[in-house]
C-alpha cells in the first residue's frame, strides 16, 4: 500500500502526462486567446480529454492555469509540521502558505515564466491562489494550531483555534500582497530566467518583512 517512489508505473506516468498536457494547453490558450476565450471545453479539446475529465485533474479552470495540484499538498503539509521547528512559528506558517499557494511550482521554467506573464495580464487569476487557500483553510488551520501550541501559553481549545485562524490570515494576506507587488514589478523577464534568489524566496522575504512591520505598528 505504501510502495513509494521507485516504479512510477504506467498508470501514474499516463496521469502525469495528462496533467502536463492540460497545464500546457491551458497556459497556451490563455496567452493566445485571452482568459475568457480559453474555455474549459477548448482546453480539454486541446489536451485531448473530455471536459468532465478536466475536473478530475484540477479543481477549477484557474487551478489548471496556475498548475495547482489538488492534493499533493497534504504530503508537504504533514512534512512541514513534522519539522523540528526551532524556527519562528511565523516563518513556518508563511512556508505553509507559500507551499499551498503553489508559488514555487517546481518544474518547467518556461511554463513558470508563462504563468507570471498570465498573472500580469489577468490579475484576477492570481487571487484564485487565495481561493485555493480558503478551500483548504480548515486543514491548514489545524496545522497552524499545532505549530502555535508549541510556543503558546496554552489557552483553551476554541481560543487556540481562533488564534491559528488569525495567524494564518496574517501570513496568507502578506504572501498575497507580496505576490501582487512581485508580479507588478516583474517586468524584467531576463532576471527570472536564471532564477537567481528563487522567486519563492523573494516572496517569502517580502511577506515576512510586511508581517513584522505591520504587526509592530498595530500594537
Amino acid at each position: 500500500m505504501v510502495e513509494d517512489s521507485k516504479k512510477p508505473g504506467l498508470r501514474d506516468r499516463k496521469r502525469t502526462a495528462t496533467r502536463a498536457r492540460i497545464e500546457a494547453a491551458a497556459v497556451d490558450l490563455v496567452l493566445r486567446d485571452g482568459l475568457e476565450a480559453a474555455t474549459v471545453d477548448a482546453i480539454s479539446e486541446r489536451a485531448d480529454i473530455s471536459p468532465r475529465t478536466f475536473f478530475n485533474y484540477f479543481d477549477s479552470k484557474d487551478a489548471a492555469i496556475l498548475g495547482l495540484k489538488p492534493q499533493a499538498l497534504e504530503d508537504d503539509l504533514a512534512e512541514q509540521v513534522a519539522r523540528p521547528s526551532d524556527v519562528d512559528p511565523i516563518e513556518a506558517v508563511v512556508d505553509l502558505v507559500v507551499t499551498t499557494m503553489g508559488v514555487g511550482h517546481g518544474g518547467d521554467a518556461d511554463l513558470h515564466q508563462q504563468r507570471v506573464e498570465i498573472m500580469r495580464r489577468h490579475p484576477e487569476v492570481a487571487s484564485s491562489q487565495f481561493a485555493q487557500l480558503n478551500a483548504r483553510k480548515n486543514r491548514l488551520v489545524e496545522q497552524v494550531r499545532q505549530l502555535l501550541a508549541r510556543t503558546a501559553t496554552f489557552p483553551d481549545d476554541a481560543e487556540l483555534t481562533a488564534r491559528a485562524t488569525i495567524a494564518l490570515a496574517v501570513c496568507a494576506s502578506a504572501v498575497h500582497a507580496a505576490v501582487e507587488t512581485w508580479v507588478g514589478t516583474a517586468d524584467s523577464p531576463a532576471a527570472t530566467d536564471i532564477d537567481g534568489p528563487d522567486d519563492a524566496d523573494v516572496i517569502r522575504q517580502r511577506a515576512l518583512s510586511l508581517i513584522h512591520s505591520t504587526l509592530k505598528e498595530l500594537l
Copy 2:
C-alpha cells in the same frame, strides 16, 4: 433628482417587497428542505419571480439566504471613514468588517433568528459572508488605507497598501472566528430573543479580544 427619503414611490416599494419575499422564501426553503434542495429555481418560484431576476437582487444564493444587500454598504463605508476617529484604528476596521459582513442585519427579528439557525446547520453558508468581503476587498483596503494613514509613520504607497491588506485580513478573520464560535454556542434561542447586548456587539468584542491576544503572542 435628489429628492430623498419622503416618498418611497411605488417602484421602490415594489422592489423592497420583492427583496423581502426573496429573503423569506430563501430562508423558509432552506430550513424546510435543506441547503442544496433549496435551489435558486425553487426560491424564485416561491418568491414569484424568474430565476434571472433573482440575480438582479442578490449576488448569490448565499447572499439571499443571509440577506446581504449588494451595495447599500458603500454608503455605510463612506460614513465610517468620514468619522472623527479618535478611536483605535483596529476598532474602526472591525466595525467596517462587521458592517460589510452584514452581521448586524437590522430588521426582522424572526428572520434573524432563522438565519442563525441556518448558520448553525450549514456552516458553509456563514463563510460566504467572508466571500462577500473578498468581493469588496479592493474598496475596503482603500478605506483601511486611509484609516491607517492617520496614525502610521508614512511609508511608501505600496507598503501602506500592503499593510492595509494585512490589517483588514486580521480583522476579517477575527470577526469570522468570532461569528463561528458565537454561532456554535448560540443554542440559547431565548437569549437572542431579547437582543440584550446586541449580537453585533458581542461579536465585535470577541473579535477585538482575539486580535489583541493573538497579536501580542505573535511578537
